[in-house]
Amino acid sequence: MIMEQQPKEKARIGVFICHCGINIGGVVNVPHVVKYVKTLPNVTYAEDNMYTCSAEGIDKIKAAIKEHNLNRVVVASCTPRTHEPLFRGACADAGVNPYLFELANIREHCSWVHMREPEKATEKAKDIVRMAVARASFLKAQEESEVAVDPTALVIGGGISGLTSALCLANQGFKVYLVEKEPELGGMLRKIFKLYPTNEEAQRILEASINTVMSHKNINTLTNTSIKSVDGYIGNFEVTALKDSEEKKFKAGTVIIATGAVEFKPVGLFGYDKYDKVLTQVDLERVLQTGKSAMNKFFKPQRVAMIQCVGAREEKPPRAYCSRICCMVAVKNAMLIKEWYPDSAVYILYQDMQTYGKDYEDLHRKARDAGIIFINYAKQTPPEVMPLPDNRLRLTVYHALLGEKRDLDCDLIVLSTPLVQQETAEELSKILKVPLGQDKFFLEAHVKLRPVDFATDGIYVCGTAHGPKDIGESISQAYAVSSRAGGPMANRKVRTEAITAVVDPDRCVGCRMCEKLCPFGAHRIEEGKSTVIDALCKGCGVCAAACLRRAITMRHFTDDQIMAEVKTAFLTEAPKPPKAPTV
């Protein structure tokens, strides 16, 4: 195993044992522990405090560091999860590198759980402090590194999400490359007629957005452009794009995926590809966009039926999900048809109406009031479509709530199908090394608390590329990524904690096990050896434990340090000083 170089200086450890009032002192015999600690190797100084974390206690630590020329500090008190930063700060103030500090937990892990066994608790406290002292002997000073961040964002996708985030970032003063694979900006919204809940025309909103983006001095728009490769890491991405088959290279500090989604085409379902009066909702939008008079030429809707959940909520992935927006799209379009053709009969065949929240439930109610007929059908008994001689279609549905079959002779059948991931997403996920979920949408770092981040720093996702959602929700997410990406770019740098992996190139044989195991892509193989990109390493140590050549050192959690704790956890004889390394 690679041995950490023994610190050049001899360890001079100061140990501060806290009473924490009676929390520790009431169970553990603190003075006994202090007496014992003074006999441990490398301990130069030891004292007890009533409250080490108090202003008084902090001052005492600093004073002792100066007076006794201490170069390492151990505090035996409560949990490092709350108090480590406080004591690290105290050490730093007194000139001791914060990574030369160790906290021994003798409260949560000792006095508080052994309240009725004071003698045993005292012995255990001695062991715990001995372990911390042994570990401290092997601690090394660490410097946290900083990575510069280019205040330029690459936004991939020129739909409403991409446009919104590009604009928000540009307004914050950042430079933006907005890349769109189609000849025009706009994405899915170009195909939409009206938007719920406001019933505004999508094109108006889109045009306003596009105009603002095109005229913004901070935004460089590249249409007919795809991403060929993205190398590097947060703050320093090297992008190669292909515009009209010509390579364009530029640098970016952050990358935002806003590539959107496409509508699932239900080929083979409900006669979609067979009958010209069976449309999807997006097909319908296109027809509606042509206007009422043009629509009259297409057909005169006397009876229109919409079928929900076509090709969605299936048994197995990838389309096991609910596409979130289809119920509202159906309600919106049904109300539109009813408005244009008040004498028509409009039906929505549904499993569960996903008209959630405040505005949508309201519109759902309004739709029922407007005379739109809602028919519940069970998943196991889907409706059937058969052609009629007069070019109409017979829709047969088993009404689940009335318990009877209904035949609806329709002029138009509209299928509500889910949004699905773009075909190009698979390639993009490989280029950026970010994952797709089982539903094929981009998979974020944490479903609850980091919905628009990826585990890889510096790359973000928003809009329907992340999953089905409506315009308002897409725009919320687009603003969200503008904050997430804006942070590192505003600071012009990111800090990396010093708990990172280091590879010894002399030992590394390039077996790539570390590269395979690392969830953050922090290991790169260059010239047959693994190197660690500090900015990406999160310090988990999975690679170090796997390296068969013992070539990886986990800073601040080295094998030496851990082994020192293992060896001093229980002792039956007098403690020996830590042995010199044998490389």
Binding site: N105, R107, M131, V542, M563, V566, A569
Partner: protein, 143 residues
């Protein structure tokens, strides 16, 4: 063994879940016997088979490895690696004369203070029944 044998247990706890769970056991003033000593790592995936083997070599009677529940790992897949390593170790231990039951893997989340205390109690009882580690006698004889 005339007097009550008290096993020596070493616990490896990951910073984000199990160490926090042990903290909660303390905050909640739960009780468990004093036999366990704890080593903190950032991730259960840091726990190296060599660390565990060294623990047994030191004469420790039982090793408890804990981490986040599968799917909850702060480093996403670290606990998967840990699971595989513990499985491997359990196959290796009999070959060096140790019962595989002396090594235990548990997922303890930051809110499972009660579970941590319970697991520690149970494990101590189990190892008590197994008796002192066979390696302890060898160690004593070699000193």
């Amino acid at each position: 063994m005339t007097e009550q044998f008290e096993p020596r247990i070493l616990g490896f706890l990951c910073n984000w879940c199990s160490y926090a769970g042990a903290d909660l056991a303390g905050v909640s003033r739960m009780s468990y016997p004093t036999n366990i000593r704890i080593i903190r790592t950032m991730c259960s995936g840091r726990v190296d088979p060599l660390h565990v083997l060294e623990a047994f070599r030191q004469g420790i009677d039982g090793v408890l490895v804990t981490g986040c529940h599968i799917g909850d790992c702060h480093y996403i897949t670290g606990n998967h690696a840990c699971e595989k390593r513990v499985k491997f170790l359990k196959e290796v231990l009999p070959q060096i004369g140790l019962e595989p039951e002396r090594l235990r893997l548990e997922w303890v989340s930051a809110s499972e203070g009660g579970k941590f205390a319970k697991v520690v109690k149970e494990f101590i009882e189990e190892v008590k029944k197994l008796g002192a580690s066979p390696l302890r006698k060898e160690l004593q004889e070699s000193v």
